[in-house]
Amino acid sequence: MNKALWIARAKELGIDELEIYELLSAKRSLSWYEGKLDSFTTSRVLGTALRAVAGGKQAEMALEQADDEKMDDILASLKEQAEIVGSKDPAALRAPEETEIAVSKKHFVTPSVPEIQALMDKVEKDLLAADPRIVQVGSVEWEEESEIRMITNSLGLAIEEKSRYQILSAEAAAKEGDEVKTDYKVEVVENLADFDEDEFVKKLSENLIGKLGGKSLPTGRYKVILEKDAMTSLFMAMSGMFSGEMINRGISPLAKKTGEKIF
């Protein structure tokens, strides 16, 4: 994609400003089941998103193959999209500005496939050995992803960010009588050499076994202590209320509540 060409052509076609967002993502994941490699997935994908402002109105398009030969059709489509927008709030792109880059303190060391397989096998075996009531390890999965994000726009913005993560997850089931409970755990793993596999298995197995033998409570109003993870989930369910878009549309209960006590 010749970005300078796209920006110049956009101006010729009556688009005031154009922004090109690119995301190059490389991913690898492996899963383990009953002592064997169950699945292996690898990918490399470059995605492109365009944001155009014409007459103060904004239009967006996401593409996976932004070929220069399709440029005119794509830009014409963006213009048509912008023309039907009725919003009175003028849209604008972001101009370059002094930016302080927050550098991630995580230094991921990429393990080899045999190292990952050995870890997943150990996690599966250790979970099954942790308690006789743990009857199945549904899956142990390893996932790693590297991303490069690039934003270029007609106001001169040209910025790039690289990121990476590696995670290990496991799901297990425990059975006692007719009662079956499941639980899972996900952990970021920077370096296998420092990863505490015993602690990972201990936490997952303890949480799982702790779910067995639960009794029903009568419905009613109780004082509740929320663990960090539980509160995070609850808060996530409410996060939509904070969405600028919902607030702007006046359909969030928090609209026009800035400065007021809400919780």
């Binding site: 994908v45 398009m61 109003r221 359909i251």
Partner: protein, 465 residues
């Protein structure tokens, strides 16, 4: 799409490894979304998704890779990565070359008006008709939002068995939300119909009706009182009421969980898993239904499956890999959101079949219960069958009659128990549209049922406090 010659070359290269099966899935999907607020367009977005997913099997092991670059430079290294992961061909064994045979068939889901040929402004006008109708329903409707989604997807699947087959899937859906205010009470209602059709859908389903339905719900809920809690009989209405069956039972009938004994219904074939008045289907062949396809995402023809007959489990929904695990034939149930997902067994249009009871008879004999007219979101654990669902529009039933609307109701239970506790099934089967999320991503599915009566469900509510 790649040429047949190129596909044969790639598949032959895949088979030059320890794999015993290879598949290439190609996809090109265009979609657009128009969003409105109070009769003005807020957003118009377009998206193109295109790429290739390649899958190799070695017995029960699967390796999968995908890319949106579809030339040799990208795909040959991807195939070689996959070959390396699955292992080398046994020494002395010769690699077989793949010859493809294109499979032709009659399209069950033809489209009359291609949305791509219609200007955005005309599509926005359809949403405005719905919003206007909602606003005119009642002066307490203070705000409306609308959204239209249009999708055109082309897929092609080729396999080392020599099968080459394609499909074009088109769908449209309109979402309308109406917001009603009375004093300090602010309530919303919504309607979200869709179909595997082009814009002719809005000639059959008038936008005005969508707007009116959204407004009706919002107005009703203004009068709602807190819902009482406890175990009680519940009448769950037709159409989207089927979301409980979908989530709490349908997912547990997918081979993904069954093959690994991770489903409450694993090993129950031929056994009674539901009340004798319950039969249920998964049918991806219903012409132009929201969850329809000519072929699944593994290239197999869609077929209707009777999952439960008179309470007896008669079929699971089985994809290719889990079919291998179970030693069972595929049922044309392999689906995925896009080429970025490996397919697995998924539902299409899944519903409880019509029964013989009248809708009115469902309320007979109920001293105190809940009528769940519109279901909301929920969650379920397919391994245990435990679920909880919000009721978006509910009414208390008192002495066999619908009494007053209630808010804050939730249904809590276990799919296995619910199926056994259905004691009446009415004759008013209808389907509703939704997006189903699972291992292979988010896909369009119809849920459905006639109105049913469950003799006892735990209802969560705040009226007893």
């Amino acid at each position: 799409m790649l040429t047949q010659k190129k596909l044969e070359e790639y598949l032959s290269r895949c088979m030059d490894s320890a794999c015993d099966f290879a598949e290439i899935y190609e996809e090109y999907e265009e979609s657009e979304t128009i969003e409105t607020l109070d009769l003005s367009v807020e957003k118009a977005e377009r998206q193109v998704v295109s790429g290739v997913g390649i899958r190799l099997y070695r017995e029960l092991q699967s390796v999968y890779g995908y890319s949106n670059e579809t030339d040799d430079e990208a795909l040959l290294p991807l195939i070689d990565d996959l070959r390396s992961a699955i292992g080398a061909k046994e020494e002395g064994k010769e690699a077989s070359s793949v010859t493809l045979q294109r499979v032709e068939y009659e399209n069950r889901h033809p489209v009359k008006i291609d949305y791509r040929s219609v200007p955005l402004s005309e599509k926005a006008a359809l949403i405005f008709r719905a919003e206007k109708s909602a606003k005119e329903t009642d002066e307490r409707i203070v705000k409306t939002t609308g959204r239209m989604l249009n999708v055109h997807q082309e897929v092609q699947v080729s396999t080392s068995e020599g099968r080459l087959i394609g499909d074009t899937r088109v769908r449209t859906r309109m979402f309308v939300e109406a917001y009603a205010r009375e004093g300090e009470v602010f309530m919303s209602g919504g309607d979200r119909p869709g179909a595997g059709k082009g814009l002719e859908f809005y000639e059959e389903m008038q936008p005005e009706e969508i707007g009116k339905e959204a407004a009706r719900q919002a107005i009703v809920m203004l009068q709602a009182k807190d819902c009482p809690s406890g175990k009680m009989p519940v009448v769950i209405d037709c159409a989207f009421g089927g979301v409980i069956f979908h989530e709490a039972c349908g997912h547990a009938l997918e081979a993904t969980g069954v093959a690994r004994n991770q489903s409450v219904f694993a090993g129950k074939m031929g056994m009674q898993i539901a009340s004798p008045c319950v039969s249920a289907m998964d049918d991806g062949t219903i012409p132009n239904a929201w969850g329809c396809q000519n072929i699944d995402d593994e290239g197999n023809f869609r077929m209707p499956r009777l999952l439960i007959k008179d309470g007896i489990l008669t079929s699971y929904m089985i994809d290719r890999l889990n079919g291998r695990r179970m030693g069972a034939d595929v049922t044309g149930s392999g689906r995925r959101q896009s080429y970025k997902f490996e397919p697995t067994s998924r539902m299409s249009n899944t519903f409880i079949c019509a029964g013989s009871d009248s809708f009115e008879s469902l309320f007979e004999g109920i001293e105190r219960g809940l009528y769940a007219k519109k279901m909301g979101g929920g969650s379920v654990n397919p391994m245990t069958g435990e679920f909880n669902f919000a009721v978006n529009e509910g009414y208390l039933i008192e002495n066999g009659k619908i009494s007053y609307p209630v808010k804050g109701a939730a249904l809590i239970g276990n799919g296995r128990d619910i199926l056994m506790n259905i004691d009446k099934v009415s004759d008013n089967l209808a389907r509703g549209q939704g997006m189903c999320g699972s291992l292979s991503g988010s896909i369009p599915t119809d849920v459905g049922q006639p109105a049913i009566r469950v003799s006892s469900i735990t209802v969560g509510g705040t009226a007893n406090e």
